[in-house]
Symmetry: C2
Subunit: 225 residues, 2 copies
DNA sequence: GCTTATCAGATTGTATACATGTATACAATA
DNA sequence: TATTGTATACATGTATACAATCTGATAAGC
């Protein structure tokens, strides 16, 4: 199934895509989809061969991803998919609660009819999704669509990065069958409150949603070590 | 457990400083001190010559700084010191208020005697400082010392980046004579509330401090364009 | 047996050289 | 005069080559 998604990266008048961008996007996507696992090493030569380029633009891409918190670079040792411990996961989730409820509260008064419809249609799509990768992508799109009306680009970028660096753990051990129903119900609660223009309620549901996610991540994360 | 994860790298501490780090730190400092002005171009060759290295590690440093929001990179055009507009300044200040009051509230219960003394001594130093560069550095150190006891490294890094990307505007047109007294008084208010372990009051004073800073930045920023 | 030393192979870091894109100045044209 | 096209200089992007560093396995020492 092919879905039309809103363009994710706000490109400042870029006419074309540079090699480092292409590589960074590939790695970012692979990490989001858990095709590249936490702790896994990313070898420059291997990536360079895969894209038919030299290691220099690959290094640029890895630096970029380091800035987004997806990759850790150790001098003379290499690049590794970031693998935060439980405490760091908690820390990032608390930051997400802070920033995402903030963005949502700003967004609620600004929602247009089209923006509501986009959110609704994304939820409808979520119902019929069975595999992790698609769920992850559409879930991401739904949350992005929720916050987008706040119109604060730097805030949205920050939220994107924080989500990206921890959300993959939610999809690592769990299957859509297990988390699907809870997630969908919570998403609908949030959206409904937004449609009623009740920012405080929406933020409350969002916080509950995130705290439940954190609890699930914590429970499986403890097993993983 | 189906998936086996590689062991986490145990050594995040860096024994030595790499060339890109040295260059990044130099540029970062120069931007903080307003020796490099907003909008100014950073040429790779020039920086490479200055440090006696090639452009490759310079490029690494610029990528790093891009991730911190201090530098904007335009493909085939070059690197420029970031020059946020008034709306972006407002946005970042709101984020700072959100994150810094959050960190401070977490920090207040954790303060040790030594940490209070560090804050006090930094304020004492601030009294006898007359030039912008020193003021900026010690002001930065005071705020960092305020939030450090929250012990959340990722949060602290985020705050540092946000401060760095906008705080320099506060020192761009104003002189210590003009902003010194207000700043010092507000800093003392905040610290005193912390010492009384009154987190809510401390956060309130901090927010007022930041809002006044924003107002000053806005007033001169409008002139600067 | 356990720890430490050592060395080859592999991987990253950087310098150099070349390719490509961009900006400035000037000429050509309407 | 204003606009468009073109040449040149310059800065950035990337490939290649080489140097520095790390890893892992084997050997030496206690």
């Amino acid at each position: 199934m092919i879905l039309e998604m809103p363009e994710r990266i706000a490109t400042p008048q870029l006419k074309y895509r540079t090699a480092p961008e292409v590589v960074a996007e590939y790695i970012r996507d692979a990490i989001y989809r858990n095709e590249l696992l936490p702790g896994q090493q990313l070898q420059q030569e291997e990536l360079a061969l895969k894209f038919g380029i030299s290691r220099i633009p690959v290094r640029d891409a890895l630096r970029q991803l380091q800035g987004e918190g997806l990759v850790d670079l150790y001098p003379n040792r290499g690049a590794f998919v970031s693998n935060p411990g439980v405490e760091e996961l908690r820390e990032v989730f608390e930051l997400r609660i802070l920033l995402e409820t903030y963005a949502l509260k700003l967004a609620v008064p600004n929602f247009t009819k089209q923006e509501f419809e986009l959110c609704s249609s994304l939820l409808t799509h979520l119902e019929s999704v069975a595999n992790r990768a698609d769920w992850s992508r559409i879930d991401q799109a739904f949350h992005a669509a929720l916050y987008a009306p706040c119109k604060q680009s730097r805030t949205l970028t920050l939220i994107d990065n924080l989500r990206g660096s921890v959300n993959r753990f939610y999809f690592l051990y769990l299957s859509p069958e297990s988390y699907g129903p809870d997630c969908l119900r919570e998403h609908r609660q949030i959206l409904k409150a937004c449609q009623k223009r009740d920012a405080v309620a929406a933020a409350g549901f969002l916080e509950a949603h995130l705290r439940r996610s954190l609890a699930e991540v914590e429970s499986v994360s403890a097993v993983g070590r």
